[in-house]
């Protein structure tokens, strides 16, 4: 029996919603201690990545998100049988618990800011040229010209970078105020000024949206892409040590698994 894994949830109880997964099979919870793995049975691992399958996976994770704290699992994670799944849960239990504590009651929001890079550079060049006119250089040997051009390019790039830092810093002040964690990338491309994800508590969602609207209205010449709430895909952190627990830890964990938990799952669907 192959199990397609959608997410790890903070409950060992059965999922009350009727959720249907890939191949139309019911999604159910396989409990381990006080957490569980939301899975559905499949005959064979999906062979192709299709738009429908990706959307279906995401839709299921979002349905789970309505009732549980979910650690979303990457698309197409298939585990051979229940024993292997429980063994995996045992190995990652501490990691899963730590993440659930951190991510409880929180969602992820994505903010992308696109600025008119060409215009920004144009303005920088204009400003630099003004300065240059003040100190006219009469010596125009090719060597010096080459060095001058190189230096000018360096100055433009440096100024461009500094401007990006400045904008991001200001915007981030507003967003960070209502976020528990963030990941922010600057200038992935020249036009993509900021590509950020923020982890926001449910109660702060409104404030966070308002902060976004405020930033947006203060720079209407930039373009913005706001999305969320998402399951916290970007904030799941698994320690590299997470393989299998030491024998003593395994024994502890086995003590926590009840006989009922071992029996609950596929058979109950």
């Amino acid at each position: 029996m192959k199990l397609y894994l959608y997410g790890i949830i903070d409950s060992s109880s059965q999922i009350k919603q009727s959720i249907y997964g890939l191949e139309g099979a019911g999604v159910y919870n396989i409990p381990f201690c006080d957490i569980g793995a939301a899975v559905s049975e499949i005959c064979r691992p999906p062979q192709n990545i299709t738009e429908d399958a990706v959307l279906e996976h995401e839709a299921i994770v979002e349905k789970l998100m309505a009732d549980f704290t979910v650690l979303p699992v990457r698309f197409q994670t298939v585990i051979e049988g229940r024993d292997n799944l429980l063994s995996m849960m045992r190995g990652y239990y501490k990691d899963f618990k730590d993440n659930m504590e951190r991510l409880h009651n929180k969602f992820e929001f994505s903010i992308k800011v696109i600025w008119p890079a060409d215009k920004i550079k144009e303005n920088i060049i204009k400003a630099l040229k003004k300065d240059e006119q003040k100190k006219l250089d009469l010596d125009s040997s090719s060597g010096k010209r080459f060095m001058k051009e190189k230096f000018e390019k360096y100055k433009i790039d440096k100024e461009f970078d500094a401007k990006a830092d400045k904008f991001i810093k200001v915007m981030d002040i507003f967003f960070s105020k209502f976020a528990a964690e963030k990941k922010n990338k600057k200038l992935k491309t020249e036009n993509l000024l900021m590509d950020a994800v923020y982890l926001v508590e449910k109660d702060n969602e409104r404030n966070f949206r308002e902060a976004f609207e405020h930033v947006k209205s203060s720079r209407p010449d930039f373009k913005y892409l706001f999305s969320g709430p998402w399951p916290a895909y970007n904030f799941v952190v698994l320690s590299k040590k997470s393989c299998l627990p030491r024998d003593s830890e395994q024994a502890d964990l086995f003590d926590k698994v009840t006989k009922d938990q071992i029996l609950v799952g596929a058979d109950s669907i």
Binding site: I49, V54, R74, T189, K223, Y233
Partner: protein
């Protein structure tokens, strides 16, 4: 869940043109939604490794999928840097 947040207004355009523009906006919005989902579902979240997992979508498969669908710059860059050379060579 996702919205294009930049202002995009048109004035003095006929109904058909307006409709086409609206459709384009919807298509664009859908494409961006899909991109956001792909970026997360294929590349982020819990990634379980080890012998017990018989198939975490392998790099080749993801890459082929991304060629058909969409990808983020970051994902493609990561894949380019991966040790799986087959499909990467095709991409260059």
């Amino acid at each position: 869940m996702i919205a294009l947040a930049h202002g995009h207004r048109t004035t003095s355009v006929g109904f058909q043109a307006e409709k086409v523009k609206m459709n384009n906006a919807v298509i664009k919005s859908k494409e961006i939604t899909l991109l956001e989902i792909l970026d997360r579902v294929l590349d982020k979240g819990v990634v379980i490794s080890g012998d017990i997992v018989i198939s975490v979508a392998d790099v080749d498969l993801i890459y082929l999928g991304l060629k058909v669908l969409l990808s983020s710059v970051e994902t493609i860059e990561k894949l380019r840097g991966s040790p799986f050379v087959g499909p990467m060579q095709e991409a260059r």
